[in-house]
Symmetry: C2
Subunit: 214 residues, 2 copies
DNA sequence: TAGATTGTTAATCGATTAACAATC
DNA sequence: TAGATTGTTAATCGATTAACAATC
């Protein structure tokens, strides 16, 4: 089912297809052609067909795609029917935000929250208390989480990540302001460098305002 | 100074160069060659030289680049010496996190926080109170912010963005879970689709764990 | 001067788009 | 059957990398 050698560019578009198909499904749309999808999503029909055909022929000539069938195929490709046990390290505002954001998210189960400072109860998710970092090792050995969300300052991130990697964590969602260097055979890193993102936006806006518009 | 027609791929790498150069500067490194930079940043020397030469020849043959000079050139390119007045719409955990994250950030000045619910004082940034959405229009007319950070649910985002665009906002940092459709001649959108990001990571980890590793 | 390293052009690689035969 | 639309290959486009002459 999950084809080898599919390029990361294609994978990154799948969640967006999934999001849009979910909306269509909610609105009662039963079938859609690649052309219609493309128009709505501001892509080309060609790209959509090409992307989907990396995983299989989900459409039907002359008809198009069945919305809910296609959605569920993408769900399977992205393993959204699985639950990947996940911990969050660093429970400041951002950690809290991500915790509630992911609370009922498909494919992800938050099973532990860790922070340097004392334990408190999360209001948004009262079933999870915040544990001190000293409990990290025993927790990981018992519960074997596979994914860690790093919401800690850049200075600590590398050493924490290496330590977690040793405890069996296979994927890092990295919000710390540093580049993690880990052996890519044992761990995958997805960086969310917010500062890079807003700097890019700021560049575009400044260029637009100050720049020589046509 | 800011060259036309520089591809977005190049622009997106500039903040990363800037981050890394800032670290070098802090560590007292005076000069660096494209080769050394490449090794540290896991890029090719060729790409770094190619990227930088979109904006000018900042290096010197036989020597390399002066770290602090190069940093300040990139600072100028990214307009980090400007301040772009910015408001945040939606002050939940995420809005709070971004507010404190950007508090002393170069190039961005947070000048207003807005939320549907009653006003409170931000602990992390006591000089800014949270204003109700009803004050949005008069605030924008008076202060003319140019950038808005959207931390509101997907359902409202499109209409809020259109409204803000009418009030003179030129750039949107979009954390709402929807695709904003705006006239690209009047506004730039930078999406941070967290759900897409974690789904991509989850795909990679699941493939790694369950998949046929070599 | 000799050595190092840039700036820049040309070659390669990969991703997107176009085209169209297959087929529902 | 005729019309529509996919699946898939080939063409194009853009981004990355390699190569090397220029030059500090």
């Amino acid at each position: 089912m999950s084809a080898e050698n599919v390029s990361i560019s294609v994978i990154r578009r799948l969640p967006r297809y999934y999001r849009y198909l979910s909306t269509l499904k909610k609105n009662g749309v039963v079938r859609i052609s690649s052309g219609e999808l493309a128009a709505h999503m501001q892509l080309t029909a060609s790209q959509i067909r090409h992307d989907l055909n990396c995983f299989g022929g989900f459409g039907q000539q002359g008809y198009g795609y069945n919305v809910s069938q296609l959605a569920s195929e993408i769900e399977k490709i992205l393993y959204l029917d699985n639950h990947i046990d996940t911990i969050i390290i660093g429970i400041g505002n951002l950690g809290r935000a991500l915790s509630s954001f992911l609370f009922d998210s498909k494919g992800i189960s938050i099973i532990g929250l860790f922070d340097k400072s004392n334990c408190e109860i999360m209001e948004s998710n009262p079933s999870l208390s915040i544990m001190p970092m000293t409990e990290l090792d025993s927790f990981c050995k018992e519960k074997k989480p596979k994914l860690a969300i790093l919401c800690i300052p850049g200075g600590h991130a590398q050493s924490v990540a290496e330590h977690l990697s040793g405890l069996g964590i296979k994927g890092f969602w990295n919000f710390s302001q540093t580049e993690l260097v880990l052996d890519e055979k044992t761990a995958t890193v997805e960086n969310v460098h917010l500062i890079d993102s807003i700097m890019t936006l700021s560049y575009n806006v400044n260029t637009m305002i100050g720049g020589k518009e046509e």
